[in-house]
Symmetry: C2
Subunit: 213 residues, 2 copies
């Protein structure tokens, strides 16, 4: 099972690494990080580089596609090389998935027209302008499409996907192996739960991050 994770300048690392850590543990899985060219690709804040080991052209027909998010997605929304690769891959994937603002890219490729989809909460308007309908749900599935909300939601999505691919026992064993028994010290992980003052801090942080590119 070939799993392709396209990476691009200013991607958000956890969007990609969460699903990688789960899906790479499926029996027979081979995860490949792909880029327009091979070599190191920097994350949104520039502090991390992950190597693209293959080019898009090297992997025209992955079984599973996972599109991560990050501010770098905005440059992809009119990038015909990436969008046509996604469209062509989607014709033969068994699963086409996204994390965070990766759903903007799927929408720009025309795959989410009129569909409910999650994205990072700060990008809801952008998603709707691309023809999808924003939902706060953490993981959404339409047939072979599966999309997760922001950043860490990719872990929940990948476990859901693992269960559909390999069964509940394997998915649970992966959850156990990565000790995913979450105990966050606060309960402020979604806009509906966070206090207004925290929401404002997070909104401002997002604006700084967007502007820093």
């Amino acid at each position: 099972m070939q799993i392709a994770i396209p990476i691009f300048e200013r991607f958000t690392a956890l969007d990609a690494i969460g699903p990688y850590e789960v899906l790479s543990r499926l029996p027979g899985a081979r995860v490949t990080f792909v880029g327009k060219t091979t070599g190191p690709v920097r994350s949104d804040n520039g502090m991390l580089a992950v190597t693209a080991d293959a080019t898009l052209a090297d992997m025209p027909a992955p079984d599973v596609l996972v599109v991560p998010g990050g501010y770098g997605t905005r440059a992809l929304l009119e990038d015909e090389e990436m969008l046509s690769w996604i469209r062509r891959a989607h014709e033969t994937t068994t699963w086409t998935t996204s994390v965070c603002t990766g759903s903007l890219v799927l929408a720009a490729a025309g795959l989410l027209e009129g569909k409910d989809a999650p994205t990072h909460w700060a990008a809801r308007d952008e998603l709707e302008r691309l023809g999808a309908r924003y939902t706060e749900q953490r993981v959404v599935q339409h047939g072979k499409l599966m999309m997760a909300a922001g950043v860490s939601a990719g872990i929940d999505m990948a476990l859901t996907l693992a269960a559909q691919i390999a069964g509940d026992d394997i998915a649970q064993a992966i959850q156990l192996y990565i000790e995913y028994d979450p105990q966050p010290p606060f309960d402020s992980g979604s806009p509906s739960k966070a206090p207004a003052s925290v929401m404002e801090l997070a909104r401002l942080a997002g604006e700084r991050e967007r502007a820093s590119g």
Copy 2:
């Protein structure tokens, strides 16, 4: 605030990337992935490479140290270059932390003698042979030492640390920004919660992973 994450062949990516994704969002934080040499470093399964942007010698005195785990830690337990770098760094850190089997490395460096500490559940005996006492607690603190259980527990640890460094509001805003509102599809993320059949699957997967290196 300089945050150093040492990486090494066969590290577990999420151990490093979970804390990176949280701590890089602290005001004034600069996360650097450090290695014995600069350049790409492969994860436990070989499917991912992260770039070490600095050498250990380049960063003798980070403010915060985060040691990830993975089967590659076993080669570090008698690696005097790494262990003495950790000991020296620990003299001046404000926080010395580990995720998963990163605690084996802290123990081998002599920092956990007689202390309660978590690690990956599959490594509890190894941790105890190195002089610490295994605990199932997800995040454990002793003064400026903070250690997390396996893999995904690094996210919970990093949020706990973020609150101590920058206050609850900032930590909550980071949690919101990475939408860490966990909704795993199963409740099998710790040995005390997983069914016996799932525990056996996970144990076998671990043995295969260990043997594959």
